[in-house]
């Protein structure tokens, strides 16, 4: 098993004719992902890497039976793309786009409250179930199938973590970048619940960073409800308050969002927290044995 996406996933790429859309369609196809359709308004009838392009998500869904969307459209149009995909009933919507106005995300979040779609991102690398399918922009070849799940607010930091896991022989069930924005579609807890139910997943690596209280909430949830081993890392232990550290969501403000508070909350929940990123892989081997 795995969560969110697997070998049955059929992907529509929104913004497929753009530079990034094209590049990553190629990458996903070469990983083995079933990219079944693309959408770019006005480009219906064309193909990209052999994938048929449609004018609307609705048409793509009707004609190609896609169930997961991967969005590469620019920030001004991204909220429209997400809501479009959710209206059509995509199971999972992966939004790669960085830089969406926060009030657009307020709308998106409000809209999704009444729909079934799971939004991953925005401002995220996507989701991969190694050996099955990859919906996103992560380098596929560093992953290998296995028992460890990864949930992260970051992109390249996740690749670093996955690379170390693979390096120490720990393959992955599903790796999810939930996104670096202050408003994102899913929380750590949403996925922990899924991994709790996923028999293939034997443990979880949780990659947090400064900003918000999602890690504190996850710690509380794990303490109360989650019974598989968890290893955590929090980026930004040296970040100054009041500054956005690259990610729109990575900011310590109003006395909230400090790495030390998150680390303490996780440790209080008996979760091993790696402080030196370079040692994550080795620590994971020990933690996942439990």
């Amino acid at each position: 098993m795995s969560i969110l996406v697997d070998e049955k996933t059929r992907v529509v790429v929104q913004g497929i004719t753009g530079r990034e859309g094209q590049f990553h369609t190629r990458q996903m196809l070469s990983y083995g992902t079933a990219v079944a359709a693309g959408v770019t308004p006005g480009k219906g009838g064309k193909t990209v890497e052999g994938v048929p392009v449609f004018n609307t998500v609705r048409q793509a869904a009707e004609q190609e039976g896609v169930n997961v969307s991967c969005i590469f459209v620019p920030p001004p149009f991204a909220a429209d793309a997400i809501i479009d995909a959710a209206s059509v009933g995509m199971d999972v919507i992966v939004c790669i786009t960085e830089g969406i106005p926060i009030l657009d995300m307020v709308k998106v979040a409000g809209f999704l409250r009444t729909r079934q779609s799971v939004l991953i991102g925005p401002n995220c690398p996507g989701v991969i179930s190694p050996g099955k399918t990859k919906v996103g922009i992560m380098p596929g070849d560093i992953h290998k199938p296995g028992p460890v799940a990864v949930i992260s607010r970051s992109g390249t930091l996740t690749y670093e973590v996955v690379d170390q896991l693979t390096g120490v022989g720990l393959g992955q069930s599903t790796c999810i970048g939930i996104g670096g924005d202050p408003l994102i579609g899913t929380s750590f807890i949403d996925h922990l619940k899924r991994f709790q139910e996923d028999e293939e997943t034997q443990g979880v690596v949780l990659i947090g960073e400064i900003g918000g209280v999602a890690e504190e909430q996850a710690a509380e949830y794990i303490k109360q409800e989650f019974n598989k081993p968890v290893l955590a890392f929090i980026a930004g232990q040296t970040a100054p308050p009041g500054r956005r550290m690259g990610h729109a969501g990575a900011i310590i403000s109003g006395g909230q969002g400090r790495a030390e508070d998150k680390i303490k909350a996780l440790q209080d929940a008996d979760i091993t927290v790696v402080l030196d990123l370079g040692k994550l892989g080795k620590t994971a081997v020990e933690v996942m044995k439990k």
Partner: protein, 389 residues
């Protein structure tokens, strides 16, 4: 993007939120003239800088004679003002706001942000208006009341009533319409201008039974500036670090820190983690620099140039995990920067991911002096040794 108090108040005024009469000046001469058009004495002379904490730092003066308006202006203008939020070097004051003073009966705190947990625009209100709301909030939760504005309903009067009727005693009946109106308009400003913060602290009810925004703070969502073009003109970059400004121009995320290790990383999370590892290894990062997931050769070159412009930097650590940004692109960018500048600082490079072999080869073949680290911990150890030795 932060606005100045006078800019925020100008927006308030246009939106129907009452503000005291005032005038911006940039010279003592202008200040002198202003005493003839703004009601007084007394007058309030306020330094316009982006940082808060001005009151305690001497950036706000109440004066009673016209000549004092001038001397207070002179005392602040073109001098650095150090507040709890500026850092030790302070910020140079370029503009002064001179206002009439209103007689305050009661003070409130009012602001709007987007709440991360509920994904709702959220209004914050407190009876404890004044200068120290943040510490007060930290000390006793419950002092600040919150109202989440549902995105379907938009603003509705009951949100204001829920906030205002938490006051004990409730606000005087004469204050209610004015306070409710300010709340409705604050919401509108927040939504229509794509703000990430709008704050009125203090919002006051005066002895002559009027409501005024005595101070104003607006931060705009930079991601939304593409549709708020008329607000771009309000940007005042004079308080920004020159290197941060330069980085912005090239779409790089750069933040100046206190140490001496220049660091360049792709991806914000990895960049923060790299700073953390540098510190764990006993050194201090001079900056946070995230070239982003999709950087090109030119952005890499600019990133290196920015690091080199910082004279405190004694060694450079480049940590790239190739994903979208391929390692060969990075290597070419580094070489281009090395050619343009005379890079003679110790350079530690740690590459991994897409096209890593090609990247390593390009650097190796270039004749550039650098140390290769096989993993992140080693990279941090190496760079730390450089600045210690």
């Amino acid at each position: 993007m932060k606005l100045h108090e006078y800019q925020a108040k100008d927006i308030f005024m246009k939106s129907g939120i009452p503000i005291p009469n005032g005038q911006l000046v940039t010279s003592a001469d202008q200040a002198n003239k202003v005493t003839q058009i703004i009601n007084g004495p007394p007058w309030v002379v306020k330094a316009q800088i982006h940082a808060g904490g001005r009151g305690k730092a001497g950036g706000v003066k109440v004066v009673h004679y016209p000549y004092e308006v001038v001397t207070a202006t002179e005392a602040m203008l073109e001098k650095p003002l150090r507040t709890a939020q500026t850092g030790p070097e302070g910020v140079v004051v370029n503009q002064i706001l001179i206002e009439e003073r209103v007689e305050v009966d009661s003070e409130f705190y009012l602001s709007m942000v987007v709440d991360r947990d509920t994904a709702c625009p959220t209004m914050l209100f407190s009876q404890a208006g004044g200068t120290e709301i943040e510490t007060q909030a930290a000390r006793s939760s419950g002092v600040i009341q919150k109202e989440h504005i549902d995105p379907v309903s938009g603003w509705m009067p009951h949100y204001a009533r829920n906030l205002l009727y938490t006051l004990d005693p409730p606000p005087p009946p004469g204050a209610m319409p004015g306070l409710m109106s300010v709340m409705a308009k604050l919401y509108k400003v927040f939504m229509t201008l794509d703000c990430s913060l709008v704050e009125i602290n203090p919002l006051v009810f005066t002895k002559d039974r009027k409501v005024y925004a005595l101070d104003g703070k607006i931060t705009l969502d930079e991601n939304a500036l593409f549709r708020q073009k008329e607000l771009l003109a309000l940007e005042d970059t004079r308080e920004k670090d020159p290197l941060e400004l330069m980085a912005e121009k090239y779409h790089l995320n750069y933040i100046r820190l206190d140490g001496n290790i220049g660091a360049m990383v792709n991806g914000a999370g990895l960049a923060m983690a790299t700073m953390d590892v540098i510190k764990l290894a006993g050194a201090q990062p001079a900056n946070f620099l995230d070239v982003g997931g999709g950087a090109n050769e030119d952005m890499i070159t600019k990133g290196i140039e920015i690091i080199l412009k910082d004279e405190r930097v004694r060694a450079i650590l480049i940590n790239i995990f190739g994903g979208i940004l391929r390692c060969d692109v990075l290597a070419r960018g580094v070489l281009a920067a090395a050619e343009k500048t005379q890079m003679d600082l110790p350079l530690i490079v740690r590459l991994e991911g897409t096209n890593v072999e090609e990247g390593r080869k390009i650097l190796k073949d270039s004749g550039l002096k650098f140390l290769v680290a096989s993993d992140l911990s080693e990279a941090a150890q190496l760079v730390s040794q450089q600045v210690k030795g």
